[in-house]
C-alpha cells in the first residue's frame, strides 16, 4: 500500500490554509502511486468538525485526536503520534513549511531515522523516490532534491500548492494520542495573536512593503493606507526598517525574515538589496517606487515609478480606492 500522510495544521480549533495545501500535495503523490491520503488532525475537543474540509480536498481518511493537550501546538505529543502512525507503513508524509510544520517535520523525520526535504515548491513522483524542487542559496539557485527515505518526508512552501478540491467520502477515524499530551516537557503557555483581522504575510495576495526611503516610522502610515485601499493586503518591511524599530521584525521580508510570494508586491523606498530580494523575488507582479532611477529594485520590478514616495503614495492610494469602487 502506498498511502501518504498529510499533517493538517490548525490553530484555535480551525484549520489553517496550509492544511489544505498539504492535503493537496499529498493527493498528487497518492494519485501518482495509486494510494490513499490520510490526514492527521490534532486538536482540543471539537476539532473533528474540521475533517470535512480535508475530505473535500482529497483526504480519504482523517485521523483525529481530540485532547486538551492539543489546544495549542504541542510539538512533542504531535511528533510522537505522527511518528507512531508512520511506523504502520506509509510511503511519504507531507507537512506545511509554516512555523508549526518547520518545527514538527524534522522531529518526525529524526524519530523515523530519515532525512527530509524542506520548503519545497514542486514534487515529482518517481517509483522509488520523491524529487522535490527546493530553492537554495537564498533563492539564487534551484535544487532538485531526491528524497529516497521511507517514509519520504517533505515540507511544502506556503502558497506553492494551491488547494484543489477533490471531494470524496471521507472516513473519520478517532484515535488516541501516543502517551499523555498534557505531560509534554515543551509547552506553549501563551499564544499572543497579532492585531485582529490583519492578514498574515504568507496568506495575503497583495503585500505593500516600505523601506528606509520612507524616512520615518510615522510615514509608514502611507504604506498602511495603501494596503487598506487594496483591502486584501499585508504590510511588509526591510531589515533597515525593522532594525531601526520602525516596524516589528515579524514584518521583515528577506533572507533572515519571511519569504513571500504574493500576486502583487509593492516596494516603496526600498533599494532592493540582494537579502531583501531573497524574500520576494518570486512574487507575481512587482511594483517599485524609488527616487533613485539606478536602485537595484527596478531590475526585478515589472512596473516602476521614479520619485518621492511621500508625494506619490497618497496619490496611488486614492487611485486604487477609486479603481476598487468602479
Amino acid at each position: 500500500m502506498a498511502n501518504i500522510l498529510a499533517f493538517a495544521e490548525s490553530r484555535g480549533g480551525k484549520l489553517r490554509k496550509s492544511a489544505l495545501e498539504a492535503v493537496t500535495a499529498a493527493r498528487s503523490i497518492a494519485d501518482a502511486r495509486g494510494g490513499e491520503v490520510h490526514a492527521v488532525l490534532l486538536g482540543a475537543s471539537g476539532i473533528s468538525g474540521q475533517a470535512e474540509a480535508l475530505g473535500r480536498h482529497g483526504a480519504d481518511t482523517v485521523i483525529v485526536v481530540e485532547h486538551d493537550g492539543f489546544a495549542n501546538y504541542n510539538p512533542e505529543a504531535s511528533s510522537a503520534f505522527i511518528a507512531d502512525r508512520l511506523a504502520s507503513g506509509y510511503d511519504a508524509a507531507v507537512f506545511p513549511a509554516t512555523a508549526q510544520g518547520r518545527d514538527l517535520a524534522p522531529r518526525v523525520a529524526a524519530r523515523r531515522g530519515v532525512g527530509m526535504a524542506s520548503d519545497v515548491t514542486d514534487i515529482t513522483v518517481e517509483s522509488d523516490a520523491l524529487v522535490c524542487t527546493h530553492p537554495v542559496n537564498i533563492g539564487k539557485v534551484i535544487a532538485r532534491v531526491r528524497v529516497s527515505g521511507t517514509p519520504a518526508i517533505v515540507s511544502v512552501r506556503p502558497s506553492a500548492f494551491t488547494p484543489v478540491e477533490s471531494p470524496r467520502e471521507v472516513r473519520v477515524e478517532p484515535a488516541s494520542p501516543s502517551g499523555d499530551p498534557s505531560a509534554s516537557r515543551v509547552k506553549v503557555v501563551e499564544l499572543r495573536e497579532g492585531s485582529a483581522g490583519k492578514l498574515d504575510l504568507g496568506e495575503a495576495p497583495i503585500i505593500v512593503s516600505g523601506g528606509r526611503g520612507l524616512k520615518s516610522a510615522d510615514n509608514f502610515k502611507l504604506v498602511e493606507d495603501l494596503a487598506d485601499a487594496f483591502g486584501n493586503a499585508a504590510v511588509g518591511a526591510t531589515r533597515a526598517v525593522t532594525d531601526d524599530g520602525w516596524r516589528p521584525h515579524t514584518e521583515q521580508i528577506g533572507q533572515t525574515g519571511r519569504t513571500v510570494s504574493p500576486r502583487l508586491y509593492v516596494a516603496i523606498g526600498i533599494s532592493g538589496a540582494i537579502q531583501h530580494l531573497a524574500g520576494m523575488r518570486t512574487s507575481g507582479t512587482i511594483v517599485a517606487i524609488n527616487k533613485d532611477k539606478d536602485a537595484p529594485i527596478f531590475r526585478v520590478a515589472d512596473y516602476g515609478i521614479i520619485g518621492d514616495a511621500i508625494e506619490i503614495v497618497p496619490v496611488l492610494t486614492e487611485a486604487v480606492r477609486k479603481a476598487k469602487q468602479s
Partner: protein
C-alpha cells in the same frame, strides 16, 4: 552551565553563483566564507548566558573540512572557550546525516543547552537543530527570538504566522535561534589574540547515512525586464491601469 553551539561555515550569499560542471553543486572556488548569521546570534546567546551565570563553558562545534577551523576560531575570538571540528571532506546536504554526527559528539558532553541557528542560507533546510534534539532526547524550541532562564527551566518566544508563541521548556534543551534574539558582538583585538591559544580538537565526523541528496541544480528563471512608467505622481494613472488590465491584480 555547560553550553554547546553548533555553527556552520557558509558561502557569502552576495556572491554571483555558478553551477559546477557536475550539474548538481555550486562552484564555490574563490568565494568568501563566514559563519552563518543565525549561528553568530546563537554564539552570542551562549556567551551572554555564561557571562550572566558568572561561570561555565561555551564549546563550539562545526562539521566540515579543515577550513571550518577558521570559523570556529572566529567564535573563540568572540569569547567561546574551546572548539571541536568534526572533520569531513565536505558538508553533506542531508540534515539528518549532519545531525547524526553532531548528536554523536554531543551525547556524552553533559550540556545544559545546545544552540543552533534557525537555518543555514545555503542548504535552506532548517532541520539540523531539531533533529539533534530528537536524537539526544532533549527538549527543543525552534526559531526563538526571546529567551529567559529560570534555574533548570526556561521561557522562549517564537514568531509564528500572525502571532507569537510563548514556550516553556526544561533543561537540558536544544534551542534554535531566529533574528532578533540579540546583536552579535564583534571579536575584540584582545579576543582575537586570546583565541589563538584556545584549543580546537579535531575528530572524524560520524556522518549518518544520507537518504536525501541533490540530483541537479539550475539557476532560477530570470524575471522579464520591467518598465519605468515615469516620474512622480503623474505616472500613477498608468500604473493603476496596468494593474487592472495587464497584471489583473486589482
Amino acid at each position: 552551565m555547560k553550553i554547546a553551539v553548533c555553527i556552520k561555515r557558509v558561502p557569502d550569499m552576495e556572491a554571483r553563483f555558478k553551477i559546477a560542471g557536475d550539474g548538481k553543486s555550486v562552484d564555490y572556488t574563490g568565494l568568501k566564507f563566514d559563519m552563518n548569521d543565525f549561528d553568530s546570534w546563537a554564539v552570542e546567546a551562549a556567551l551572554q548566558l555564561k557571562e550572566k551565570a558568572g561561570q561555565g563553558e561555551v564549546v563550539i562545534i562545526s562539521l566540515g573540512p579543515d577550513a571550518v577551523q577558521e570559523t570556529i576560531r572566529k567564535a573563540l575570538s568572540m569569547g567561546a572557550d574551546r572548539g571541536v571540528q568534526l572533520a569531513a571532506a565536505e558538508i553533506p546536504f542531508d540534515g539528518f546525516a549532519i545531525a547524526s554526527a553532531l548528536a554523536a559528539e554531543l551525547k556524552d558532553g553533559a550540556y545544559d543547552l545546545v544552540f543552533f541557528g534557525k537555518q543555514a542560507p545555503d542548504s535552506a533546510n532548517g532541520v539540523v537543530g531539531i533533529m539533534v534534539a530528537e536524537l539526544l532526547g532533549y527538549a527543543a524550541v525552534s526559531s526563538i527570538n526571546k529567551l529567559e532562564l529560570q534555574g533548570t527551566s526556561g521561557t522562549a518566544e517564537r514568531a509564528i504566522e500572525g502571532a507569537t508563541e510563548v514556550v516553556q521548556f526544561p533543561l537540558p534543551a536544544v534551542l534554535t535561534v531566529d533574528e532578533g534574539l540579540n546583536q552579535a558582538r564583534y571579536p575584540s583585538l584582545k579576543g582575537i589574540m586570546a583565541a589563538k591559544k584556545k584549543q580546537i580538537e579535531q575528530k572524524p565526523a560520524q556522518l549518518g547515512a544520507a537518504t536525501v541528496s541533490i540530483q541537479a541544480m539550475a539557476m532560477p528563471p530570470e524575471r522579464a525586464p520591467g518598465r519605468i512608467l515615469g516620474e512622480g505622481a503623474a505616472a500613477v494613472p498608468e500604473l493603476v491601469q496596468l494593474l487592472q488590465t495587464e497584471a489583473k491584480v486589482i
